[in-house]
């Protein structure tokens, strides 16, 4: 019990939760609140979170440091072997894996909820789920998947790769980095327990006044998103500081791998917008707990204000999810096409243009909300303009593979699959940015199909591409290539079979977030449901491949793909603190086809 660890974290969480619950109840009683439960559970969560973080060892060192007891702070590279993944550690590579595995677990959990919903929708007239349970499952599926898409690539691959790629020994603030990870498990537990607290009937968007009238489960949603947001802000600060301060000698801005640029762009967006979401949710919480009436029209508030604030974060959030996906794909394509990245500078400029434009497009979610009509036109134009920098991603991808020598290994297949699926997501986005078509299509399954093609077609395809591509680096082992290709084929086909029919379903009048299927769309919905199970099967194949390879796959070389970026120039897996000898960067990251072309000196770092 003296050492921080999972057990102490759980006990700390329980102790904090008990104390917080007592404090919350006491406060509610003293304040003569009608219902003490919301205060009790607010106390349980907030103090439980602090207790958990204290127990796991995320807070102690800072207090020791503040108290001048630096001698008490031990280096925390964690235990050897598998155990380090279950402990507080400051090693960015371990934290990256923790992010990846945690977000994958929740990807599976939220995916299983989707399967239950798809069964319900495929059997018209069924009563597998009642309306309330269906809506709760749908809301949790949406909220958890949004969180997964936000943190899996950037938190997982970003943490693992960014320091390695720029030649740093770790992140700029390793303890902050660990803290931002360890905030997430309590938040995940909270949202998953909302069905036991009255459910969640307001979707992942939680529009008031409905969200101010729903039971305690809605409050769980609020605390979950605030926690994920806080974690995201800390992560963004850390990425930016690391990028700005810890690049190896010679790593000028034009020699930085494109994935790093995508994480930088993502971090700027997250840093600017996430605090707005947190503030919005705190206002919603104040409405619920203290009758603050920010958004309740019955007491002088404005529900449309909430939508402006919510989408000011939540549309840029799409780019927080997607831009690291762009970066990962454009990082992987040159390696397996054996060609330099096409139009590198234009891509970097496009990422930064996306940062700026993402801040001024939010109201395209609100064309039918009742906002002033004069806003619709400008937001339509600005939203459509963002397809110009996004289009550059396609130029770069296609320019890179054209005339290349393509190795169609599993990560490459996923990268090519990304190009194929994300173009559908991008093109259907124009229909939803255009006012005359959006008025018809918004709030229907056309939107559901569209955002699955963008978020899944971009971020999740990029996540699979990244896991396959960097798996040999992370684990030092090779996965089964044949099984990987089969898994990709099944995933690609099942993905399209599951979501392409939903465009048609939406055009034929199926509304979002409803638990029944219009009669004329039953056939298409059944196809989608069957394909959803094939999608699940392919995820199962992926898990089997990865788990088996990690446990007893053949050893992988340090640089099995013959790539140039820095992470491939150290051992697989890389040692703690990454580099044993000083690194000097002497050229661009993709010197493919250039005789004697070098990215780093010395050639061998091991």
């Amino acid at each position: 019990m003296k050492r921080p660890g999972l057990l102490r974290a759980i006990l700390g969480g329980l102790a904090g939760g008990t104390a917080g619950g007592a404090l919350g109840s006491l406060g509610a009683t003293l304040g003569a609140a009608e219902d003490t439960d919301p205060f009790l559970w607010a106390g349980v969560y907030l103090f439980g979170l602090v207790g958990w973080l204290w127990g796991v060892g995320a807070l102690g060192p800072w207090f020791a440091w503040a108290a001048g007891r630096i001698d008490r702070i031990a280096p925390e590279h964690g235990a050897p072997g598998v155990r380090r993944y279950f402990e507080f550690t400051t090693d960015h590579k371990v934290i990256g894996v923790q992010y990846l595995v945690t977000s994958f677990v929740f990807f599976v959990v939220a995916g299983l909820l989707a399967l239950v919903m798809r069964v319900h929708l495929a059997l018209p007239g069924s009563s597998i789920l009642d309306l309330h349970t269906y809506t709760t499952f749908m809301s949790i599926h949406g909220t958890v998947m949004v969180a997964v898409a936000l943190i899996s690539l950037s938190g997982g691959m970003g943490n693992y790769l960014l320091p390695l790629m720029i030649g740093a020994r770790d992140m700029a603030f390793p303890r902050l980095n660990a803290l931002s990870y360890w905030m997430l498990p309590p938040a995940a537990l909270l949202i998953l327990s909302s069905p036991f607290a009255g459910g969640l009937d307001s979707g992942w968007t939680a529009y008031p006044p409905l969200s101010e009238r729903l039971p305690l489960g809605q409050q769980f949603y609020i605390f979950t998103l605030i926690t994920v947001g806080a974690s995201s802000i800390l992560g963004a600060v850390n990425f930016l500081a690391t990028f700005l301060g810890l690049r190896a000698p010679g790593m000028s801005w034009s020699r930085v791998p494109i994935f790093v640029w995508s994480i930088v762009a993502m971090s700027i967006i997250a840093l600017i917008t996430t605090s707005v979401l947190a503030a919005t949710l705190i206002m919603l919480l104040f409405d619920r707990l203290f009758g603050a009436a920010f958004f309740d029209p019955a007491r002088g508030g404005d529900p449309i204000l909430y939508q402006h604030l919510f989408w000011f974060y939540s549309h840029p959030a799409v780019y927080i999810m997607a831009v690291p996906g762009f970066g990962a794909i454009l990082e992987i394509l040159p390696v397996h096409a054996r060609k330099p990245l096409f139009a590198y500078r234009l891509v970097v400029g496009s990422f930064l243009a996306i940062v700026v434009l993402s801040l001024v497009v939010w109201a395209h979610h609100m064309f039918v909300s009742g906002m002033p009509e004069a806003l619709a036109g400008p937001f339509m134009v600005l939203t459509e303009l963002i397809s110009v920098p996004t289009g550059v991603v396609f130029l770069s991808a296609l320019g890179t593979i054209f005339l290349g020598r393509l190795r169609l290994v599993t990560p490459m297949l996923y990268a090519l699959g990304f190009v194929s699926t994300f173009v559908v997501g991008g093109l259907t986005g124009i229909f939803l940015a255009d006012v005359p078509t959006d008025i018809a299509l918004t709030q229907t399954y056309f939107v559901v199909a569209h955002f699955h093609y963008t978020i899944m077609g971009a971020t999740i395809f990029a996540l699979f591409a990244s896991i396959y591509h960097w798996f040999p680096k992370i684990t030092g082992r090779a996965f089964d290539e044949r099984l990987g290709r089969i898994q990709f084929g099944l995933f690609y086909l099942a993905f399209n079979a599951a979501f392409l029919p939903l465009f048609w379903v939406g055009l034929h009048g199926m509304r979002r977030r409803v638990a029944e299927v219009p009669p004329e769309t039953i056939g298409a919905n059944v196809v989608s449901s069957v394909a959803a199970f094939l999608l699940a099967l392919s995820v199962l194949l992926f898990v089997m491949n990865i788990v088996r390879a990690w446990a007893r796959g053949p050893r992988a070389a340090a640089n099995p793909w013959d790539a140039h970026t820095l992470e491939w120039r150290v051992a697989s897996p890389p040692p703690p603190e990454n580099f044993r000898v000083p690194v000097t960067v002497v050229g661009g990251p993709y010197p493919y086809g250039l005789p004697g072309g070098q990215h780093v000196m010395p050639e061998a770092l091991e």
Partner: protein, 257 residues
């Protein structure tokens, strides 16, 4: 093989696929029946965007599939040519996408203005045709108050003195919906009309629609309004103006009894 040959093959495949699929798309009914003036504008915009999207889709897939087929490495060794970019191509790509996007945005803005005009011209045209029947006020727009509440719709015709749980509308007469809610957000949508508008508590928001086809439809809620959201719908019927007047007369008589 010179680069020009690659481009020729890709270009040919692109043109063939684009022309073939565009021909199919224009000759197969993709959208369900439409029943309003505004819906026709929306459907026209949908088809325009679809036709604009097809060449983009096939350009990306033509280069993608050609590269996979033609540039697949058959031996392990060797890199491709060190081409890091192409200034003219990059500038051209950005310029073309920018022009396309601005053209589509201008087209969208135009359609938006047309939808919002509420068929003012149409109102003048049909005003005389529907006037005077059964002594009801028949000129210009028909005002209908739409009240969405958890989990049902109510309709009021303030100029006609009718309240109803079903929506009846005369064909070809512009309707001014005044939409509101006493509780939470809802959204008023008749799929065959295409247009929709949120019902916001504390506000009354106007939506102008001119029904153009006789038939039975449904008004549905499209903003998640609680567990009963799924079942929040009301019957809608677009009728001949004379039949509508009869219905109004009967409703009034029933209300007076």
């Amino acid at each position: 093989m010179p680069v020009a040959r690659h481009f020729a093959v890709i270009g040919a495949a692109w043109v063939i696929a684009t022309v073939a699929v565009t021909a199919i798309v224009l000759n197969v009914p993709i959208l369900p029946a439409v029943a309003s003036r505004e819906g026709r504008i929306s459907d026209g915009a949908f088809m325009t965007l679809l036709v604009a999207a097809i060449p983009v889709f096939f350009l990306v897939h033509a280069v993608l599939l050609y590269s996979v087929w033609r540039f697949r490495a058959r031996t392990a060794a060797g890199d491709g040519p060190p081409i890091g970019g192409h200034r003219t191509l990059e500038a051209g790509w950005v310029a073309v996408t920018l022009v396309m996007v601005l053209a589509l945005a201008a087209y969208g803005w135009n359609g938006m203005d047309e939808m919002r005009s509420g068929g003012a011209a149409a109102a003048q045209q049909v005003g005389h045709a529907v006037a005077g029947a059964a002594g009801l006020p028949g000129h210009g727009e028909l005002r209908v108050k739409v009240i969405g509440s958890q989990f049902a719709w109510r309709f009021e015709y303030p100029d006609l003195g009718v309240k109803s749980v079903e929506l009846r509308l005369p064909k070809d007469r512009p309707v001014r919906f005044e939409i509101t809610s006493p509780d939470v957000l809802h959204s008023f949508w008749i799929p065959a009309f295409r247009t929709k508008q949120d019902a916001v508590p504390g506000r009354t928001i106007t939506l102008l629609v001119t029904p153009t086809a006789i038939g039975r439809y449904a008004a549905e809620c499209t903003v998640l309004c609680g567990a009963g959201h799924t079942v929040m719908r009301a019957p809608v019927e677009v009728m001949e103006p004379a039949a509508f007047d009869d219905w109004v007369t009967k409703q009034r008589a029933a209300a007076q009894q």
